[in-house]
């Protein structure tokens, strides 16, 4: 009785790993050549589903995504290169369909923006830290007055004797 319960618990623990190994494939006509099919899937993974925007057409089960996957397959079966297949979709839906936007004049800020912001931030930080260091140095250079020095010596000495008592 107890061992069967343990077995049940174990199988429940392991169940998620079974699910993980199953891949999300939609039931539709695939290309016969596995090499071409692999290419079709690879391209589809980089094409944005226009209905659900942040999913690729490979992940989406929207009607339009299904049609677009089929179009990618057809184009590949016609012997087009990956570039040509993507071009076909870009002609109709614009660069927006590519999850990986191309490097162009209109996307310069998108690609270089983060680096520019980082460099500006680093520069600002260096300026700020240098300014602060200089302040600390200036303070260290100001000498103590003689009365202050005598007071410091008195305190240091009294501390030394105090330790022994």
């Amino acid at each position: 009785m107890k061992s069967s319960f343990r077995l049940l618990m174990l199988s429940m623990l392991l169940a998620p790993f079974l699910v993980l190994s199953a891949t999300a494939v939609f039931i539709e006509e695939k290309l016969k050549d596995p090499v071409l099919e692999a290419r079709a899937l690879e391209i589809s993974a980089e094409i944005r589903c226009l209905v659900c925007q942040n999913q690729s057409i490979l992940d989406s089960n929207a009607e339009l995504a299904k049609d677009l996957r089929q179009i990618v397959r057809e184009r590949i079966a016609l012997g087009e290169t990956d570039e040509e297949v993507r071009g076909f979709l870009v002609d109709r839906y614009g660069d927006w369909v590519l999850l990986n936007p191309p490097f162009k004049i209109s996307t310069v800020f998108l690609w270089l923006g983060p680096a520019v912001i980082f460099i500006l931030g680093a520069f600002a930080m260096v300026v700020f830290l240098r300014g602060r260091n200089r302040l600390v140095e200036d303070e260290s250079r100001t000498k103590l007055s003689t009365t202050e020095e005598a007071e410091v010596n008195r305190l240091l000495k009294s501390d030394e004797t105090g330790q022994n008592s």
């Binding site: 209905v51 049609d67 109709r92 614009g94």
Partner: protein, 177 residues
């Protein structure tokens, strides 16, 4: 020196204003068409049964500005703009052609019988391939077509009277029709 404490405040205000603007004024689901000022793609479609004649690429070059409305009987938002199209037809403001997207002939015919037919021509895009050539990604969409059959603009979602005045009327006037 006193001003320096304002830098983070100004930065924050700048970001806040930008995000506020984007939140209420930009619509991420609206993707402008790639096809503006390009000729309409090549196609030739059968009419919705009883609502002919059919629709092909050369039918779009009519010598005046027309609208090409993508509709479907399963499309709820299409019902919102349909009465306005009927009004446009009654006033003879502009010719409207209907592209029936991924529908059944029967369903489309029944829908037009029930809600009225504002279209001069209809074409049935049963497989949705013509729609993809037009860059359609949701229904309804309405294309403004130039006298020589080029795409002037695309309106995504239902056409409202306001939108007609601001986006379509200027194009109609420009062409002098």
């Amino acid at each position: 020196m006193r001003i320096r404490f304002l830098i983070p405040v100004v930065t924050f205000v700048g970001i806040a204003v930008m995000m506020w603007y984007a939140l209420f004024n930009l619509n991420p689901t609206e993707i402008p068409t790639e096809l503006v000022s390009r000729p309409a793609p090549e196609f030739s479609l059968e009419p919705v049964p009883g609502y002919g004649p059919g629709l092909a690429q050369q039918d779009l070059a009519t010598g005046k500005v027309i609208l090409l409305n993508v509709f479907a009987s399963w499309c709820v938002a299409c019902m919102a703009e349909h009465p306005f199209f009927m009004e446009l037809k009654a006033q003879d403001t502009v010719d409207i052609f209907g592209l029936n997207y991924k529908d059944t002939p029967d369903g489309a015919a029944k829908w037009l019988a029930r809600h009225g037919n504002p279209y001069k021509r209809t074409g049935m895009d049963l497989k949705g391939r013509v729609g993809i050539d037009f860059g359609v990604y949701g229904v309804p969409e309405t294309f403004v077509i130039s006298p020589d059959g080029k795409i002037l603009d695309k309106i995504i979602g239902p056409v409202s009277p306001d939108m007609f005045e601001s986006r379509i009327r200027p194009l109609l006037n420009e062409a002098g029709s």
